[in-house]
Symmetry: C2
Subunit: 122 residues, 2 copies
DNA sequence: CTGGTAACTTGCATAATACAAGTGAAGGGA
DNA sequence: TCCCTTCACTTGTATTATGCAAGTTACCAG
């Protein structure tokens, strides 16, 4: 966890400044919590990148793995408070894209009105 | 400009989803508009990456080069309306980092209260 | 003629990402 | 029992991106 500087913008991007990390979080916000569900996202993420990003997000404390079965042990990935607080970033990105890139999907209502608290762990 | 999907989040990240693009924009918001000023940012960007990102941002219409001298021709990089509208994304990232990463610089007041209109071209 | 600045470009090494295939544990059916 | 399938990965290799150092071009000052 070495940061390029103490700048809040640069430091955030040290964690999630790549093509996939925020897309994975978006998918978890949409309710997909298992590896296979995440793998089936329309953007076609590859298996090693998904596994790598889930491990990174867990290490950084943005998501937490919770078992949903044993034999064999499998888990769902849930947002932590730290991860749920990413929502305003996703909303800002989405608003920019809808305004400036033609042909984007319209934003679903639940996404526009959602607040991080809604996704905090119980 | 091929997008992975029509998703507004993923499409935005297709444009600025890397370690440097948003850091360069942040620096321009801070008033540094020339190549040498941008190169002097505390995060130590390398020359080829800076030149590449400026070309990309210009091609995508987020910044525009305006000459400030001839002989030799040199230009400053100014935000377009499309580029200025990135501000809410930077603000959301900065707020998240200040809250969740210890030791970040406090946000300057001008940054917290800034609005994209302030940076629109004249 | 030499040195300096600004804004790059080029070459090469290293790191990140993409794609295909393989692995291991379990379950179901013939 | 043997074979086939699913889930959640891991491994190997190719391609792309990034990082670092050095070189280039145009100009100006002394």
């Amino acid at each position: 966890m070495e940061h390029r500087s103490q700048c809040p913008v640069a430091s955030g991007l040290d964690i999630f400044g790549d093509k996939w990390t925020l897309v994975v979080l978006r998918t978890i916000f949409a309710g997909r919590r298992r590896y296979s569900d995440l793998l089936a996202m329309p953007e076609r993420i590859s298996t090693n990148i998904l596994a790598d990003r889930l491990a990174l997000l867990e290490r950084q404390g943005l998501i937490a793995a919770r078992p949903y079965q044993v034999n064999p042990l499998r888990h769902e990935y849930h947002l932590t408070a730290k991860g749920a607080d990413i929502l305003p970033i996703l909303q800002a990105i989405a608003r920019w894209s809808v305004k400036h890139i033609p042909g984007r999907w319209p934003l679903p209502d639940w996404f526009v009105t959602a607040e991080p608290q809604r996704y905090y762990p119980v």
